[in-house]
């Protein structure tokens, strides 16, 4: 039966995506235990978790524009998982810095957060993601109703903050953070393209409140 087939396919795709998101962490752990993180494994861990957090975050932001362009509404069902993985990697990034690199040295950490703009921005963006992760469940989507979408559009601010954090951290080679910035700007611009131009034939989306958990409102960021 095609309906069950489609559901099974979707479940498999979900599982594969889940594993794909876990893969960088698995590689990191394997490299760490195998001594393949180079001379400064702590710094390498910070770099990798930060890069993966930012990458997954940008991929998350690409979901909605991609769905509009292609009309593949099924993509929307993976957005929350991706967003939560982005948050998980950023959390690891933060914890590595806080608990391993700085080793809970609050005296230095507090000073750094206040004095170092790249840390201030990075830390603020991390804090900003906490309420978003907390309100990502279907129950919270329903409970927040119309307020959910504007709240979650803050994720663009978090991504922007993450990229600024990256730009301000590097010494001279801006090529990598620039790539992220360009993608983010592109995605942001796509959100402003009138929907009718992008997807002329599509039906209007149903209101968030009546959607099953795996489908999220089109407007939400």
């Amino acid at each position: 039966m095609p309906a069950i087939g489609a559901r099974a396919w979707r479940r498999t795709a979900r599982a594969l995506l889940f594993l794909a998101c876990l893969a960088p962490l698995g590689v990191l752990l394997a490299d760490g235990l195998g001594g393949r993180l180079g001379a400064d494994p702590i710094r390498a861990t910070e770099l990798r978790t930060g890069i993966w957090g930012l990458t997954i975050l940008v991929v998350t932001l690409a979901i909605t524009p991609l769905r509009r362009l292609t009309g593949w509404n099924v993509l929307g069902g993976y957005r929350r998982m991706l967003g939560l993985f982005a948050f998980a990697y950023i959390t690891l990034h933060f914890l590595t810095w806080f608990g391993v690199d700085q080793f809970f040295a609050i005296r230095y950490i507090g000073k750094d957060i206040v004095k170092r703009p790249y840390i201030t921005v990075g830390f603020a963006s991390f804090l900003l993601m906490i309420p978003l992760a907390f309100t990502s469940s279907a129950a919270m989507v329903r409970r927040l109703g119309k307020r959910w979408a504007p709240l979650h559009s803050l994720v663009y601010l978090a991504a922007l903050g993450g990229i600024v954090h990256f730009v301000w951290e590097v010494k001279a080679d801006l090529s990598e953070p620039t790539r992220y910035a360009l993608v983010l700007v592109g995605l942001l611009l796509l959100r402003f393209v009138p929907r009718r131009l992008v997807r002329p034939r599509a039906a209007r989306p149903v209101a968030a409140a009546v959607l099953p958990p795996s489908v999220e409102p089109t407007r939400a960021a």
């Binding site: 195998g34 001594g35 001379a39 702590i42 710094r43 040295a105 750094d112």
Partner: protein, 302 residues
């Protein structure tokens, strides 16, 4: 008045290869376990300045460093420096000297007594290493050229060869790399011309065939792959200062009290260690070099 003894560190302290290999795998496992185990103990453990200066492994020294000529990644130099040809090698000596000219490398090294110097190396990025160099005091070389009384500074230029130095194909820094020292800094007995590492020939990625190391200054002052030494009356420009004048000065003395505008210089991670350690004034060489900067505002001349 040559200080022959390498300060603080005896060569007998060099870690045998087997120990650092073990320590490396131990470190890798420990970094994941230590979070749970070490937290209360760590707060009690205060480090005495200069404590435990064990040389880093050959592997770490040769696979984790900055040499932007080969790329901006820490492992780029190790990966790409193999393609550099260092023979033949000539060094141009120019400026305010009685004996300028193009010197063959062999000629420059002729008659110099190569000694081992175990130096602390502090990167401006707040990491550090302990490196057993082989080399000789720069002043032994400088004296040969007979600088005139007008020589107040020395400028060092790194090789420009984009065909073999892939990092030079991007404009991440203005090439070629130049650095400079005040004459008294260059003539200081601690300032070393480096020709080897761990008793072996200097690897390309560490600045072969000829580099300097100025151990009380941030690493970027210690120019690598030298092709020109020029003596000047006025202060030469230095690459990082040109690239970001508010972040990197000409003096670049290691100073825990003067932060980089974007990060703190109060502490550093010694490669191979789990906990950050306090950074020492002049990288711990204050007894020997502080007098060079008497009366200078080190906050202004950073």
């Amino acid at each position: 008045m040559l200080i022959r003894r390498a300060p603080d560190l005896a060569s007998s302290e060099i870690t045998p290869e087997s120990s650092y290999l073990n320590r490396r795998s131990f470190m890798a496992a420990a970094s994941f376990a230590a979070l749970d185990l070490a937290w209360p103990a760590a707060r009690r453990r205060a480090r005495a300045p200069g404590d435990g200066d064990k040389p880093n492994s050959y592997e770490d020294i040769t696979h984790y460093n900055n040499y932007y000529e080969f790329g901006t990644g820490k492992e780029d130099p190790a990966e790409y420096a193999g393609q550099l040809h260092t023979t033949p090698w000539k060094v141009q000596v120019a400026g305010e000297v009685a004996k300028p000219g193009n010197y063959d490398l062999d000629d420059l090294l002729h008659g110099q007594t190569i000694e081992e110097r175990v130096y602390r190396h502090r990167c401006v990025e707040a990491w550090s290493m302990v490196i057993p160099w082989n080399g000789f005091p720069l002043r032994n070389l400088i004296n040969r050229f007979q600088p005139s009384s007008r020589a107040k500074f020395v400028e060092f230029t790194t090789l420009l060869r984009p065909s073999e130095m892939p990092g030079q194909r991007s404009d991440v820094l203005p090439w070629p790399y130049v650095e400079g020292l005040r004459m008294d800094e260059a003539m200081h007995p601690l300032t070393l011309v480096v020709t080897g590492l761990y008793g072996r020939a200097l690897p390309n990625q560490n600045g072969a065939p000829l580099r300097i190391h100025v151990p009380w200054k941030y690493g970027f002052k210690s120019a690598k792959g030298l092709v020109r030494i020029r003596f000047t009356e006025t202060q030469p420009s230095n690459t990082w200062n040109v690239a970001a004048p508010n972040e990197y000065g000409f003096y670049a003395n290691v100073n825990p009290d003067v932060d980089h505008p974007r990060w703190s210089q109060a502490r550093e991670r010694r490669i191979g260690e789990f906990f950050r350690r306090p950074t020492l004034m002049f990288n711990g060489y204050g007894d020997q070099v502080a007098s060079l900067y008497g009366g200078m505002d080190l906050r202004r001349f950073f």
